[in-house]
């Protein structure tokens, strides 16, 4: 915890860009790299209007399961005290392991944060994944292929905190809990770096 305290203390005097940590202003870009257990990934956001940003993200769980999505982040509230936004995204899942999965996924994330230089937040997510599996039956006469679908969900939340380290960089530390593929999943933690280059 000592290093975390040191980073926080170093970060406190700094002031990042005028936007809150979750909001990104029109024409601005944010790049994110995230590492942790079990999820790592990269993401990009681009502010298309004062309240709307586009989002593209690729995540992987231990390089076995991959999730990619693109969507919109809508900022509902960005006051001096609170920020509230919703991210809607569509994407795909691909997992190659003993249990292989693939298919499209729809995602909604609602995030509320206490605005300030150091910004704690709670993000609630619901991801609906249409798992599509194909089976090939090799009989004596012919080969037939059948498809089966199954709707699986990932629901849970992330508790985290974002704070600036320099003018253009912010660090995001979080703990994520919830389900995966409609089953209990062990909590995951991550550290992310957000980079907002000047417009």
């Amino acid at each position: 915890m000592k290093w975390l305290t040191a980073i926080l203390l170093l970060a406190l005097p700094l002031q990042a860009e005028a936007d809150s940590r979750s909001k990104i202003s029109q024409g601005a870009t944010e790049w994110t790299a995230k590492g942790g257990f079990a999820w790592s990934g990269v993401a990009a956001r681009y502010g298309v209007s004062p309240r709307v940003a586009t989002l593209a993200e690729v995540e992987t769980a231990l390089f076995v399961r991959w999730e990619g999505r693109a969507g919109l982040q809508i900022q509902w509230l960005d006051s001096e005290a609170w920020a509230l936004d919703t991210t809607l995204a569509l994407g795909a899942v691909r997992q190659e392991s003993t249990v292989s999965r693939q298919g499209p996924q729809a995602s909604i994330v609602v995030r509320i944060s206490k605005t300030g230089n150091v910004e704690p937040y709670l993000a609630i997510h619901n991801r609906e994944f249409l798992s599509m599996t194909s089976t090939q039956v090799l009989s004596e006469e012919d080969t037939t292929t059948r498809w089966e679908t199954e709707l699986l969900h990932a629901r849970g939340g992330t508790l985290g905190v974002v704070f600036p380290t320099t003018k253009h960089f912010m660090v995001d530390i979080g703990l994520q809990m919830g389900s995966m593929d409609s089953a209990f999943a062990i909590p995951s933690f991550f550290t992310a770096v957000h980079w907002r280059p000047s417009k």
């Binding site: 994407g91 089976t135 090939q136 090799l138």
Partner: protein, 138 residues
Amino acid sequence: MIKHMHCLLFLGWTGCLAPEALYEVELSGTVMSDQSGPVELWFMHASRGEGVLETEHIIFDTTWLDSEGDFTYTLQVPQAGGEGLEIYGWQDTNEDGAHCRPGTDPELSGLVESADYPSHAIEIELELFAECEGPESL
């Protein structure tokens, strides 16, 4: 660049995983037993994995027969699940649904490995001779 990144993201997701391949086998044969009663058949791969991770008797399907004697069954064998084809059977003589429940009379079991697999038509003879044995003991 960001605007185009959304499109690029999905180019990597257009491929499909290879389907799970099932090898269909028309299985026929005879279950021989000195007792009478329903027989449960377990269809198994003989082994899976290599070295210290090698595991034997991987069950991928089961079925019940009304009694010993002749039978036919259409089996779909997962191609990625392991090697070989074994058939284990046990006879539910007292029809309690359990194999050799404590306090009940011994029930017979047997195991046979098909030498003909892979083939779409396989004939076997399964003799139930051992009392209260699982496949790992036969």
